[in-house]
Each structure stands twice: as C-alpha cells, then as structure tokens.
Amino acid sequence: MELKAIEQLVEKYLEAETTLQEEAQLRAYFSSGDVAPHLKEYAPMFAYFSIAKEENYTGKKGLRKAVPDSSEVRSLEDPGGERKKVYSWVAVAASIVLMAGVFLQENPHSEFGSYEDPEVAMEETVKALNMVSQLMNSGNDNLGHINEFNNTTDKLLK
C-alpha cells in the first residue's frame, strides 16, 4: 500500500477509529519487512497484535492481552503459568524448612560437650588423662627390666 495511506491508517489506529479490515492492512504492511523508517516504531505494536489474533482466548484472559510483558508471553505458551509459579514458591519454602531442620540437627549435644555437669566433666577428663599417662608409660615398664639386666651382669662380672 502507499506510504501516505499507511500513515493515515496509523493515525486512525491511534485514534482507535480503524476498522478490522484497516487493521489487517496495517498488519500486512508492518509484517512485510519493508517499513518506512519513521513508521518503524509502530511495527512491534502490529506484530504483537497479529499473534494475539491467532490465539483463542476466553473473555477473561482477553482483557489481559492488552499490555504485553514477559509474564504474559509465557502464559501465551502455557495457560497454566500462574499456577506453576505458586508451586515453585512452595518448593522453595519446603527446602528452606528442610535445610533448617538439618542445621538444627547438627548439634545433638550441648555446647559443653558430652556432659553438662562440670564435676562429671572433670572426672571424665581425669580418667582420660590417666589413660593417656598410663599408655605413655607402658613402654617404660619394659625399660625397668634394663635395671635387672644391669644387676645380673654385675653379678656375673663380680
């Protein structure tokens, strides 16, 4: 179509005075790929509306189609979009609770360790130290025999 005519139709469209037929003409022009530079800014409007036309929508959803945004685009492909979003929120909340449970479980014992009573803790520490000391000295028992050896050699040599 002629550029002048198109310009007029665009004006009419912006005044919301176009007929369906005229809108079809506009769509055809803008999707043709050969759009005049000063009209290029209007191209996306008509490209969008051509998609909207193909879709089957009920009265409810039709109202939402007036303003395009990313969430709308998603729901065009997937009518259940809104419901899915709610589901994933629940999943996130559930996993946070799960993590909290794990973190809380990590410390079954108190910050004092195995015992809360200092007297008992003291006793157990003493027991442990004794065990360590004994084991450290258990090698020394054998060293004690060296004295015996010295004694016997002394006896022999004398």
Binding site: A91, S95, L98, M99, V102, F103, E106, P108, H109, E111, F112, G113, S114, Y115, P118, E119, A121, M122, E123, E124, T125, V126, K127, A128, L129, N130, M131, V132, S133, Q134, L135, M136, N137, S138, G139, N140
Partner: protein, 172 residues
C-alpha cells in the same frame, strides 16, 4: 529437579565443613564418646575447685590449660576398621609429628603431637589405640597448652589403676 539437587548438596555442606573428621563417631551407638568443649574447660577453670591434696591440684593445673578434648572408643569391629581408616587419612592431611609408639600384646598405641610453646608443651596431643579382642579401639585428641611431662608424671606418681573415681574434688 536440578534446583532440588543443588539444595540437597547445600544441606550437606555443614557436614563437610565440620572442624574435625571424627565428629561422626559422637552419634554412633557403638561408640563411647567423651567430648569436652572449650566452653566446659573455661567453666572448670572458673569454678573454684577445692583440692584437698596436691594430687588433685596436679590434675587441675593440667586441665586449666586444655582447650578441647575428644575421646571416642569402640569395641565394634566395623567401627574399629572405620577408625583405622579415618585416622590414617587424618594423619595424612594433618602435619603432626610422631611422639611414640607402643606395641603390647597385639595392640598398638600411637601418639602424635603438634608442637607447643616450648619443648615441654604440645598444642595438640593425638592418640590412636588399635585394640584387639576385648580391648576397645580409642581415638583421643586434646588441644591446648599440654604439658607432656606433667601428663607423663601422672601415672608415675599416682600409680592409678584404671577406673578409679576421684572423690576429692569439691566445688563451691
């Protein structure tokens, strides 16, 4: 699904990051665990312990300088094997020096340490006893300012049989 696996990995992180490799033994029912945290040792030093005799005082002097103590012992052969493996990898990843080894009647006791502020002191004392039969395997780890000569003296001076309770300690 990918998100879930990521979150699961995240929950495992606290276990990976725990201070010591042996913490898992604390929860096992085949393991007798004695864990004394630094909080408890600080509490012990604050409490005015009335030592009736110098014997108890020696212990108190030692204990005052301890930071943390963990002892895990088990007679279960399955746990024993696990312990041996865990100790081997712990020694590989922690640079400790060998203090001594004692082998008696089939059981081996190994002591390792990390040096302390002077020759007499160690900042960490680690012991692993590989028990056989009725004797348990024991992993012991003590951190702090440990006076080794003092520890060694305990058994020499007092000749304490295993399991004796000390009734001399009174607390205010």
């Amino acid at each position: 699904m990918k998100k879930l696996t990521f979150l699961l990995l995240f929950t495992l992180l606290p276990f990976i990051g725990t201070a010591q490799a042996f913490d898992k033994y604390e929860g096992m029912k085949e393991v007798d665990a004695v864990v004394i945290t630094s909080k408890m040792f600080k509490l012990l030093t604050k409490i005015d312990l009335n030592a009736d005799d110098p014997e108890t005082q020696q212990y108190i002097d030692l204990i005052e300088n301890l930071k943390e103590m963990r002892v895990f012992s088990s007679k279960s052969s399955y746990v024993r094997d696990q312990m041996a493996a865990d100790v081997a990898s712990y020694l590989k990843s922690n640079s400790m020096e060998e203090l001594m080894r004692v082998t008696e009647g089939g059981k081996t006791v190994k002591f390792y340490y990390k040096p302390g502020k002077s020759d007499e002191f160690v900042s960490q004392l680690f012991m692993f006893m590989n028990g056989k039969g009725d004797e348990p395997s024991v992993i012991l780890n003590i951190t702090g300012d440990i006076n080794l000569s003092q520890v060694s003296k305990l058994a020499q001076d007092f000749n304490i049989p295993a399991g004796k309770e000390l009734e001399n300690i009174e607390t205010n």
